[in-house]
């Protein structure tokens, strides 16, 4: 005989209750990290000045060539090497071309080259360096050596070959700059990680069972942000100058386009006579770097809760 009391208990009679432990309630409004960072960044006046400058620069790079009465490539051989005037706002170069238009055309190239190269360096360098430093041992040894070998291959050979194989263009230059550009970054990151990974909080995270990738990207890399940002703000100018160096060897952007680097290069032999030909691109490079630097500093401070005021 069956016990009908038991038979009366059907599955339908049970409902699964989700277990909810009594949660602590946070009194303050919950703020996502990024909004916090943005807020702190916005309160940093210097950093904001940098952002505003960069934004202005971007706008000028787009509309600058359009608002000048002259285009950037037409020669005017009767008006070469003229100082700035109402007609030519930034003066003319040795073929009588309008420096104002050329500066903003150059801004397009230099900024794209600088930013693209920096971005590629950042991505590859941080991942590669992070793995080197975190995994350590044989892997570190091998990856380290591989980067040293790549770093030692004569850069000029690589660039010449790239330009023979590929159409000379801005993208070829960016590729050429990226071939070895990321290595510095990876070494900096590796050094930092080597130092950090023995620290207590890392040990704590590990003992709580955090996975390798989580350790690396959640705990280690954010703590190396300072050096990464400093390196990054330096990568932009160094990419711009490397492009100029390539132009020096005839491997840079193809004429009649010009970058800031090539404009400075062209003015090197004659800046004592026509100082404005060097002044404008050099000043713009410097200001851009300044803007990147204060912005980078601000970003770093904003990411770093310890420095919260």
């Amino acid at each position: 005989m069956k016990d009908n009391r038991t038979a009366a208990l059907t599955k339908e009679m049970f409902k699964k209750l989700s277990f909810r432990p009594p949660a602590e309630t946070i009194a303050g409004e919950s703020v996502p990290v990024w909004r916090d960072v943005l807020r702190r960044l916005a309160s940093n006046k210097l950093a904001m000045a940098g952002v505003v400058f960069l934004a202005l620069l971007a706008v000028m790079a787009i509309i600058g060539p359009l608002i000048s009465p002259h285009d950037y490539f037409t020669n005017n051989l009767d008006r070469t090497n003229e100082p700035p005037s109402g007609d030519y706002w930034f003066g003319t170069d040795n073929l009588g071309r309008d420096l104002f238009s050329r500066i903003w055309m150059g801004a397009r190239i230099s900024l794209i080259v600088g930013l693209a190269a920096a971005f590629i360096d950042l991505v590859i360098g941080v991942i590669y360096g992070g793995i080197m430093g975190y995994v350590g041992g044989r892997t570190d040894e091998a990856m380290n050596k591989a980067s040293e070998i790549l770093y030692s291959i004569p850069y000029l050979l690589v660039v010449i070959l790239l330009l023979v194989v590929m159409e000379p263009s801005m993208w070829t230059i960016i590729l050429a700059l990226s071939v070895t550009g990321w290595i510095n970054m990876s070494w900096i990151v590796r050094g930092q990680i080597l130092q950090l990974k023995n620290q207590e909080y890392v040990l704590a995270a590990r003992s709580m069972g955090a996975s390798g990738a989580r350790m690396l990207f959640k705990h280690l890399i954010p703590n190396t942000l300072g050096p990464i940002i400093v390196t990054l703000t330096l990568t932009v100018p160094s990419a711009i100058f490397s492009e100029a160096f390539l132009s020096f060897l005839g491997l840079g952007v193809q004429s009649p386009a010009a970058s800031w680097g090539t404009m400075i290069n062209d003015s090197l032999a004659s800046w004592t006579l026509y100082p404005w030909q060097m002044l404008f691109p050099a000043a713009l490079i410097s200001l851009t770097m300044l803007a990147f630097n204060v912005f980078g500093d601000g970003l770093r401070d904003a990411f770093d809760p310890k420095l919260k005021k």
Binding site: L163, P168, A269
Partner: protein, 547 residues
Amino acid sequence: MRKSWLLVLALLLATGTVLAGCGSNKGSSKDQVFNMNLTSEPPTLDPALAQDSVSFTVLTGLYEGLTRKDADGKVIPGIAEKWDISDDQKTYTFHLRKDAKWSNGDPVTAHDFEYAWKRLLDPDMNPASPYAYQLYYVKNAQNYNIKTNNPNHVSDPAQVGVKALDDYTLQVDLENPTPYFLNITSFWTTFPVHKSAKDNAAWAAEANTIVSNGPFKITTWKHGNEIDLVPNENYYAKDEVKLKKVHFVMVKNAATELQMYQTGQLNFAGFPTGEIPTEQIEKLKQTNKDELRIKPIASTYYYNFNNQKAPFDNANIRKAFALAVDRQQLVDKVTKGGQQPAVGFVPPSILGEKKNYREEYSDADFLKPDVAAAKEALAQGMKEKGLTTFPSVTLTVNEGTGHKQIAEALADMWRKNLGVEVKIETQEWKVFLKNRQSLNYDIARAGWSADYNDPMTFVDMFTSNSGNNDIGFKNAEYDELVKKATASSDQHERMQLMNKAETILMKDNMAILPLYYYTGVHMVKKNVQNIVMDYQGMIDYTRASVE
């Protein structure tokens, strides 16, 4: 802490300034020292192996050939004090001076010349002499020098037409009458070489193993850095040598070179081994009028058309591009070095029959730049090719001073005058040369300088089988004219034949696009006398003095 840092910095700055104040040492020019910039290391100081203006400039001081050239470019006696030429102009007998000595005191004899010439023609010489062809005028020289794939190879050096009859008589037999042969005997490749070269293959790589026969001898050669020459006390005309020292530096940067000149570290700057920055020339014309010298030289700056590839396989299209260029504006506003606009190929400073070749055979009617005519020619050419729109073409130039500027100026002229868009591509030097030699271009930059003072040095480069014909130009009539001119001993006939050939090349075909005849822009300090620049732009400083 902060204070000690500042203190250290202040101290550093102070010492720096003090040291700077007393340390500045400007090379004084009163002590008969000639300072000039070679720009780069001479690859060799062996006359047989040298082939560049840097090596040649040093060799000018170290060696002397059978003949020399005076300030006007006329041949004068060198180691040979006189010579006889046979009636058929194919045998030269040189009588050497008896007081000529090597820097180690050995006499310079006819045997030294015979040895030197046969050495560089030796098919087994290693490395081979790249300029051996300078002596191919000598009987059997070419057939002795070239062994591989040469059925006419002469293996016996005694068959080569150079022979020392005695210590001081040298007999030279030529293949063809060569009116400019006495020019060749002052060319660096034909300089004598001391017999000690036999036992030491590396003799020309270090100062202490170089034995020379010229006005100077070498005392220091710090590779990549500097070279010092001092007078050779055994030189037969040592009284004519006033300089106590020639000091060569190797500074690559043109702006730096000019500044070294301006601060007195150099007393010569610019062409042939250095360079005056283009944009500075105009200013220097005002500030250093007495020191800036602009000398026309025997070199032509031109653009290659690829004569075998569309669209420039069409003569009218080539003409259109050539007609649309305003050369006067180019030299006045872009190159600025006082260059002469070129509408021909042979430059003005090359000798003709009696006067300069260009004076006897003008290039004026080869090409009369004119925008309307250019447009017409372009339309005509496009019709012949069945084109409605002009295809995309590229102008290829090598990296280096001014080439890019000139290309940009020309592209602009073509855009304005013909409505044609030409892309400019800058290439690394050797990549560029490879592309040009394999006819992998549409239009490419080129320049040619004379090897000897005769139109032939220009005209023979566009024969069908010339190794330097990198425009794909093939014209049987042209080849025939050049061949005839080579065989002829009549100067008048030769010049006419060569002019006919040049007319075919330029006027009829416009196979190349001439732009200008070069000048050698250089600066010499006012107190330096007797620096002579020859028709090629090479300088002779051996008789210079510093007042």
